[in-house]
Assembly symmetry: C2
Homo-oligomer: 264 residues x 2
């Protein structure tokens, strides 16, 4: 059965999209078949994988409102084994357009279940990982992702204000677990944008490890300029500059994620 992982944190700019793109790329590089689903109206994951606006006629919005099936919307990226359901600004309308619908928080879960069954029925090669990128909010889009997923990865910037939001994120996970998705598990907390010149960074790492213990991945993603340059080339940093510290850290994170997968 394929694994559905959601990358979420309502705090903005903490590395959700960068993590979704590069974790997806690393898993694809070792032969897993991965589909990224971009649920952020900003469409940064789609841009970061080189999907320009003109080729997003069909998007995650169409899947959520029931206009299209995942198999008709997913497109290849030039990363082998990695495909994407891109996003557009249409997603901004999803919450109000479905205000009266009872099942609205299950839309993505149902669409994914239908797609997975269709793959089995058609004996198509199935995906082994779905990775869901979320907007910086606890809204219907993020809820859809958390209800569809089996596990959640929470990127956490090594900054004081980002720590403050962690408590809120953990409460939201508990609400989803005691509500629409009891099987959702915390996969782990990823420390991002660690700046070794900044003593605040190491203080945050220490504080978060103290409180969260093993729920924090050992790998820490450093602040690395090559990571922020990669999206302007429409490429994951793993393809843009394989040898840089940023890429090495995401490869290490991927192997740690796979290690943890064994225990789920």
């Amino acid at each position: 059965k394929p694994r559905i992982l959601v990358v979420a944190n309502q705090k903005g700019g903490v590395g959700k999209t960068t993590t979704a793109i590069n974790l997806g790329t690393a898993l694809a590089a070792i032969g897993e078949r991965v589909m990224l689903i971009d649920l952020d109206p900003q469409g940064n994951a789609s841009t970061g994988l080189g999907i320009d606006y003109a080729s997003r006629q069909h998007s995650s919005y169409d899947v959520l409102v029931g206009n299209a099936l995942i198999q008709n919307v997913a497109q290849n990226t030039y990363v082998p084994h990695l495909s994407i359901v891109p996003s557009t600004l249409d997603l901004l309308g999803f919450e109000t357009e479905t205000a009266s619908e009872k099942d609205r928080v299950f839309r993505l879960r149902h669409a994914l279940n239908n797609f997975i069954s269709a793959c089995e029925y058609e004996q198509e090669p199935s995906y082994t990982y779905f990775i869901l990128d979320c907007p910086p909010a606890v809204n219907l889009l993020t809820m859809n992702a958390m209800v569809a997923a089996q596990a959640i990865l929470v990127p956490l910037q090594c900054e004081f204000l980002a720590m403050e939001g962690l408590g809120q994120m953990l409460r939201t996970i508990e609400e989803v677990q005691s509500g629409p998705n009891p099987e959702l598990q915390l996969h782990g907390i990823i420390l991002t944008m660690y700046d070794s010149r900044n003593k605040l960074s190491s203080q945050v790492v220490e504080d978060v490890r103290d409180v969260m213990g093993k729920r924090v991945y050992k790998t820490v993603i450093p602040r690395n300029v090559r990571i922020s340059e990669a999206p302007s080339h429409g490429k994951p940093v793993l393809l843009y500059d394989y040898k840089c510290l940023g890429s090495q850290a995401y490869l290490q994170l991927a192997s740690e994620v796979i290690q943890r997968e064994k225990s789920f």
Copy 2:
């Protein structure tokens, strides 16, 4: 008549809260009476000004749903002339709780108008500036702020992905101008987290100035570790470390904002 400025950008982590806090502090430092209104459920502006959770019994949520008046919710900060309407996670419920109300996008505008009239009537000292901090989304909270405000400041991180969101933000401003708030003007775009060691930063500055011209402030806020340390002390960087590059840049920005105010 008091000026109502909104600080917004749906891209996350670009420096909205940092700008709202430090611009507010700088304006207060030169004698203006400033009220900050925190409209982000994360409550980072409230935390950054030292308001702990225990003292947020009354918040911006109560103002928006009509449970309380601004004068009963605003509290002093230890920055002279700067008060704040703090926020709590209650704000997460605002959008669904008012789903059927016609006037929901005008709630903040009406509350501010009532407060300003009450000050005049009671001959209380009036505020000269209101600064509204927004969550990273184009949602009902941000819309309330954009409908209440006379001018908008858009912080823009010197990163490729942040540039992509600028077009969306400008379109949102146009929609508000042709809809509920024709008087909303673009005050300016603030370039933030400029990293002189990173050639991408200077590329972004050049590109944004090419496209946006005079709408971009001359002042560029550098990436500066003292800025990210300040919130953990519950202080604006202007009080935490007056001499650092970050503080100097925000003081320069404040004087540029005041300069522009003369032409509005």
